[in-house]
Amino acid sequence: MTTTAASKKTRRRRAFSRGDRFTLAMFLGVPTFLHVVWVWIPAIATIGLSFTYWNGVSLSNIRWAGLANYDTIFTASPQFYDALRNNTYWLLWFTLIATPLGVLLAYQIDRKIRGSKIYESVYYIPVVLSLAVIGIIWKFMLGPGGLVQALLGYPEIERAIPIFSNYDINTYVILGIASWRHIGYIMLLYLAGLKSVDPSLREAAAIDGATEWQTFRKVVFPAMKPVNTIIIVITVIESLRAFDLIYIIYGTSTGWPILGMLVFVNIYGQAASMLGAAYAVILFLLSIIPIVFYLRTVFRDDVA
């Protein structure tokens, strides 16, 4: 016994010649170096910088600030609470409305209704467009001279009513635009999951006289557990990451502030403020929960 174990060990060691060891080191080393230096070291540096005063120019200017940046954000920045509120709206809207709609669509299309292939493609289209293009397209719809303006009875550019700057409705407008893309994205993911659910399960439920809703809730939904988790995580992370669409619609004017934008406006440009780093850390702390949740789901088998 011991001899076979030992010979196995030597064989394994011999399997890595000097050249092989070099190859392996390069195979792992180059990507890891790039990833750590480009992603993790800057990420950790941001956490450190959030406790400092710095204008971003020369290293010797960095001064320790303790919690001062966070203090400013929490006590003297009404924008922070606006942004937090907007990100929360985004999250709630996506979780309670857009994501369930995507799931519903996927479920119905999966039942092979007439023309399901065409509908599938139609709902996917916004998913392949960039948020910059999406922002511009929706400006044609809602901005001065746009289709919606004309339908509301204001076709002339001079008489156009403000939509993006109307604080009573702009939240719904932006979330509606974001959903245009998100619903298709969720549908795509869910549809792929549904195709892997054994159809005989559903047939059995139908024979037992289960209604459509009962079949979904008691049979399909539980069978889709991993996909459900991933969809929830994607919904949360997307809601926190939001940036592109707001930038295209409002520029940097923070007309509808979100956390991702506050990081950007505090750092971008000539004079940076480490308030931006503190905002980034807050964003990071909020993202930790979904990230850990995701990692636990996808790596569960490997850890156990």
Binding site: L49, I125, A132, F264
Partner: protein, 294 residues
């Protein structure tokens, strides 16, 4: 008897319900297309026509003149080229590095494999804003150190490297999930033949990775093409901007002629739409390989 009647009743009700669902989905799908169709319609009309006769007027002319003008005045071609100069090397490098990582962590049982995989996957999920400020400074310092400030900042190289570093996590994750479904025996026979690690990767594993490589390359090309944040913060010179980030500026410059802008937006969207319609299967499986394990 009554059971059959009830059954029929139930089926009829289901049929009616299905009919309503189909109609609803069809209407919803039409509404879904309206923004894009409207933009396309807008792009075919001259601005003067809309101004004179109103938004809903019957068009006096419908043609592709706006596209020609946009092409001439907006440097669309230059921006498109920039997009692909960034996207193609990014995708190749990401898939190359990702396949190397996936190969090692699934074929060799080092203790740190799982931690590496966790590190890469988590890195891919971090909010990019957390990486932004120090990376930006790092680019400028490295540039100053070698005496060329534009080595990484305001350069395609810098943009490509940050994309690769961030996307590698996703590629590694997807390919290592896929590799777990490839039987270990294939590797064992290669090892018995005395193949080196490199040959094992290049001749045995890489050909087997063709399906996820195809799917990921389609998906990532559209992702990088659509990427916005890094292109805004790392590229300063307008003539180096990829098209998606250039749209932000064009939007301001041509705000008074949105028929022209509509043509620009459609042209910017065209490559991803074409990729999607031609390679839909790869696109979808790229996304779902990442979300449903294996």
């Amino acid at each position: 008897m009554s059971g059959i009647v009830q059954d029929k009743k139930y089926r009829d009700r289901q049929k009616r319900k299905d009919f309503f669902i189909t109609v609803f989905i069809a209407i919803f799908a039409f509404v879904w297309m309206v923004p894009l169709l409207w933009t396309f319609w807008t792009s075919l009309r001259p601005y003067s026509d809309v101004i004179q006769n109103g938004v809903f007027s019957k068009p006096s002319t419908l043609n592709f003149q706006n596209y020609i003008t946009a092409y001439d005045r907006m440097d669309i071609w230059e921006y498109l080229t920039n997009s692909f100069i960034v996207a193609i090397p990014t995708v190749i490098l990401t898939l190359f590095f990702g396949s190397l990582m996936a190969f090692v962590v699934t074929r060799y049982s080092f203790k740190f494999n799982l931690y590496l995989l966790l590190l890469f996957t988590a890195g891919n999920l971090l909010p990019v804003q957390l990486v932004y400020a120090p990376l930006f400074k790092m680019y400028i310092w490295i540039g100053d150190l070698v005496g060329n400030r534009n080595l990484l900042y305001d350069s395609f190289t810098g943009l490509i490297l940050v994309h690769v570093a961030l996307q590698m996590g996703f590629a590694t994750f997807v390919m290592s999930s896929y590799m777990k479904t490839i039987p270990k025996e294939i590797s064992e026979s290669a090892l018995l033949d005395g193949a080196s690690v490199f040959r094992h990767y290049w001749n045995v594993i890489l050909p087997l990775l063709r399906p996820p490589l195809a799917a990921l390359s389609v998906l990532m090309t559209t992702w990088i093409y659509n990427e916005f944040f890094w292109a805004i913060v790392l590229i300063k010179s307008d003539n180096k901007r990829p098209i998606t980030s250039a749209l932000g500026r064009l939007q301001g410059e041509f705000v008074t002629d949105f028929n022209l802008l509509a043509a620009g937006a459609i042209m910017a969207a065209l490559p991803t739409l074409l990729i999607f319609f031609i390679l839909k299967r790869q696109f979808v499986s790229g996304l779902t390989l990442g979300s449903t394990k294996g």
